[in-house]
Amino acid sequence: MTQEAKKEKKFTMTLPADELMACGHLACQGCGATLAMRYMLKALGQKTVLCIPACCWAVIDGPYPYSSMDVPVYHCAFETAASTATGVKAGLEMTGDAETTVVAWGGDGGTFDIGIQALSGAAERNEDIIYVCYDNEAYMNTGIQRSSATPYGAWTTTTPVKHFKNRPKKDIVAIMAAHRIPYLATASVAYPEDFVKKMNKAKGIRGTRFFHVYAPCPTGWKSRPEDTIKLARMAVQNGYFPLIEIENGEKTTVNMLIKQRKPVDEYLRLQGRFRHLQPEQVAAIQAEIETRWERLLKAAA
C-alpha cells in the first residue's frame, strides 16, 4: 500500500454523508436530540416518514410553513406517536408503498408517561414501525418539569432542590423488552457509529423496533453546551446508560463492555441539576448503577 492510499484510508467516512436534516432548525445550543435525529436519518435515508408528537422536536423542526427535514413529517398529538405511526404505516401499505420506514419520534415524556399506552398497544400488536425515544430526562419543551424518566436526585422545576426527585427512573427498556418485540436498542449521541449501525439493523427487521436514545439537554441539565458529547460518553463509560440490544425480548447483547467503569461523581458534577446532592446521595446513585450493571451482565450471559 502506498503512503497516499494509507492516508486516504485513515479518512474513510464511518457514517453516511447524506444530510436529511437541514440547518435552520430551532434547537438550543448543544442539543443532544438534534444530533440523534441527524444520525437516525443518515441511517434510514429518504424513504422515511416521521411522526412527531408534542416534545422539543415539535418546535425544533421549525414553524409552519417551514420544516428542517427533507423527509415528510406529521406533527401528532402528545400521546399518539405510536398510534399515529401505526396508521401511517397501514395507510402507506394500502396505497402501494410497503417500502417506506415509518418512525415515531418522541421525547421521554411522550414515551415513558403520556404515550406509554399507545406505545404498549403498538408493541403488543408488533406494528411495523420504529419508535425512537430521545431521552433528555424531563419535560424540557415545557420548561424542565420532572417526568418518569427523570433520574433519582435530579432538580427540575417541579422537583425543587428541597424536594428533588426521590424515585428512580422508570426502566423503559425492561418494559419494552417485556413486550417481546423483535428489536430493542439503546444508543447515545456520543457513539454515532454504534447508533447508525443499530438503526441500519433495525431498518432490515419487520415489526416493532424500539430505540432508547440518550440525549443530553444543556438547558435542562444546567450543563455547558460544549459538554453534551462528553456527558453522553461519560454516561456510557460509567455504566449509567449502557449500550445494549435486546432481540425478541430475550437475547441481550452489551455492545460496550466497560471493564474499568468510572465513578458517577464527575458526571454528576458537570450538571447543575445535581449540584445539591450530598455524598451519601451520590453513593446511592453509584450503588444503583452497580446493581443495574450486574443485572445487565447476568441477562447478557
Binding site: 413529517v73 401505526t86 395507510g91
Partner: protein
C-alpha cells in the same frame, strides 16, 4: 339486493361498499357489531383493508388520522365514552382536514353507567370541525356512509354518521344494499392533493403562529359552509343512481301544516306516526326531521318553519344551563327573520327512555295550550 340487517351492520356495509382501506377501532357497547363484521370482512377478503385492533378509541382515531394523511380511506366507529375519549383527536382530524368517516352510536354518558340512547355524546363534539349526519333508518345509515365519504373527501372535512343505540343499532330492517359497481361510480378512490410522501416531503400540523392559525380556521369554516349545497347536490346524484334522495332535512307533511315537530334520529320516525294520528284527529301537524346537525341547515329549517304557526323542538339531549341543543339551533335559525312562529322546546328520552307517539301528543297539547314560547324547557315523561 335486499338484506335484513341491524343498524350496526348497515354501518359495516356502508364502509365495505365505500371500500375503506384502513379500519381502526376499539369495541364499546352498543357499537361492537360494526367492528365485528368489518373484522370478518377484512379477514375473508370481502373488504380489502387493514384492520388495526387498537387498545383505545384515542388510538383508533389517531391511527385513522395517520392512515388518512398517508392517503388511505379510513373508517372507525364508536359510541359515548369512546367518543369522549377521542375528543382531542376529533379536533385533530377536523383541524388537520383528514376526511375520516366514523359511525357513532348515540349512547348516554356515564355516570351512572348507561348503554341506552341519547345524543349528549355526539352533540358534545359539535365544535370539533366534523360534519354530523343523524340517521333514522338502517337504509339511511348505509346510504349516508357512502355519501359522507364523498362529501368529506371533496371538502377534506371528517364526518360522523350517527344512529340511536338499540332503537336503530340493534334493530333489524330491510335494507336495499347498493350495487358495488354503482357505488364505485358514485365514489371514486380517495386521491388527496397532498399526503405523506417521501418523494414530496412536507410537514403537516407544525407549530403555527398567530400570523397563520386564524386563516387555517377561516378556511375550515368557509369549506364547512360549502357543505349544505354539496350534501344536497351529492344527495340528488345519489338519487339518480340508487333512487333514494339524501338531503339536509326530511320534511313530512309540512307543506300545509299549522304545527310542526322538529326532530332527529329515530324519534323522527315515531313523530311521523304521531303526525298521521294527529291529522286523523283534526290537527294539521307535520314533522321536520333534521338530518344534518353540522353544518346546521339554517336556511332549510327557516323555509319550512316560515310557513307554520307553531313549532316544537324535541331534544334527546341537554346542554345543562341552556336546555335542548337542537332547540338552541332552531331558535337561532329563525331569529331576526320576519314572520317566524313561536318555537317551543322539549326534552325527552334521555338515557334510552322511550319516546312514544303519546310523547308527541303530549307535546302537541302543551304547545296548543299557549300562544307564546317562554324560556321554559319542558321535560316530557320525567318523574318530578
Amino acid at each position: 339486493m335486499k338484506k335484513v340487517m341491524m343498524g350496526n351492520h348497515a354501518l359495516s356495509y356502508g364502509a365495505m361498499l365505500a371500500r375503506a382501506q384502513v379500519v381502526s377501532a376499539y369495541p364499546i357497547t352498543p357499537q361492537t357489531q360494526v367492528v365485528e363484521l368489518l373484522s370478518e370482512m377484512c379477514a375473508d377478503g370481502t373488504l380489502e383493508a387493514q384492520f388495526i385492533k387498537v387498545e383505545s378509541e384515542h388510538s383508533a382515531m389517531a391511527s385513522c388520522i395517520g392512515a388518512s394523511v398517508a392517503g388511505a380511506r379510513a373508517f372507525t366507529a364508536t359510541s359515548s365514552q369512546g367518543l369522549a375519549l377521542m375528543h382531542e383527536m376529533l379536533h385533530w382530524a377536523g383541524g388537520g382536514r383528514h376526511p375520516i368517516v366514523m359511525g357513532e352510536v348515540n349512547r348516554a354518558m356515564a355516570p351512572g353507567w348507561s348503554i341506552w340512547t341519547d345524543q349528549n355524546d355526539s352533540l358534545s363534539q359539535r365544535d370539533t370541525g366534523w360534519m354530523q349526519f343523524y340517521c333514522s333508518s338502517n337504509q339511511e345509515v348505509v346510504d349516508t356512509v357512502i355519501q359522507a365519504f364523498k362529501v368529506a373527501e371533496t371538502l377534506m372535512i371528517p364526518a360522523m354518521v350517527i344512529l340511536d343505540a338499540f332503537a336503530l343499532s340493534h334493530t333489524y330492517e330491510v335494507v336495499d344494499v347498493p350495487e358495488q359497481a354503482l357505488v364505485d361510480k358514485y365514489l371514486p378512490p380517495f386521491k388527496p392533493a397532498i399526503r405523506l410522501n417521501p418523494a414530496d416531503p412536507r410537514a403537516f400540523g407544525g407549530l403555527t403562529g398567530s400570523e397563520h392559525y386564524m386563516e387555517l380556521r377561516y378556511k375550515l369554516e368557509k369549506d364547512m359552509e360549502k357543505a349544505p349545497a354539496l350534501i344536497e347536490e351529492t344527495g340528488r346524484e345519489y338519487e339518480k343512481l340508487f333512487g333514494r334522495r339524501l338531503g339536509l332535512i326530511d320534511a313530512y307533511r309540512c307543506d300545509d301544516a299549522d304545527f310542526v315537530f322538529v326532530t332527529s334520529g329515530t324519534a323522527g320516525y315515531t313523530a311521523r306516526v304521531a303526525v298521521d294520528e294527529l291529522r286523523a284527529s283534526g290537527v294539521k301537524a307535520g314533522n321536520l326531521r333534521i338530518k344534518v346537525f353540522r353544518p346546521f341547515p339554517y336556511r332549510q329549517v327557516r323555509e319550512v318553519l316560515g310557513r307554520v304557526k307553531k313549532a316544537a323542538v324535541l331534544d334527546r339531549n341537554c346542554s345543562y344551563g341552556a336546555g335542548g341543543i337542537f332547540y338552541q339551533e332552531v331558535k337561532s335559525a329563525v331569529y331576526s327573520s320576519p314572520g317566524m312562529p313561536p318555537i317551543f322546546g322539549y326534552i325527552a328520552g334521555l338515557g334510552g327512555r322511550d319516546i312514544m307517539t303519546d310523547s308527541f301528543k303530549e307535546i302537541a297539547a302543551h304547545a296548543a295550550s299557549r300562544d307564546r314560547a317562554d324560556e321554559e324547557i319542558v321535560w316530557i315523561g320525567v318523574k318530578k
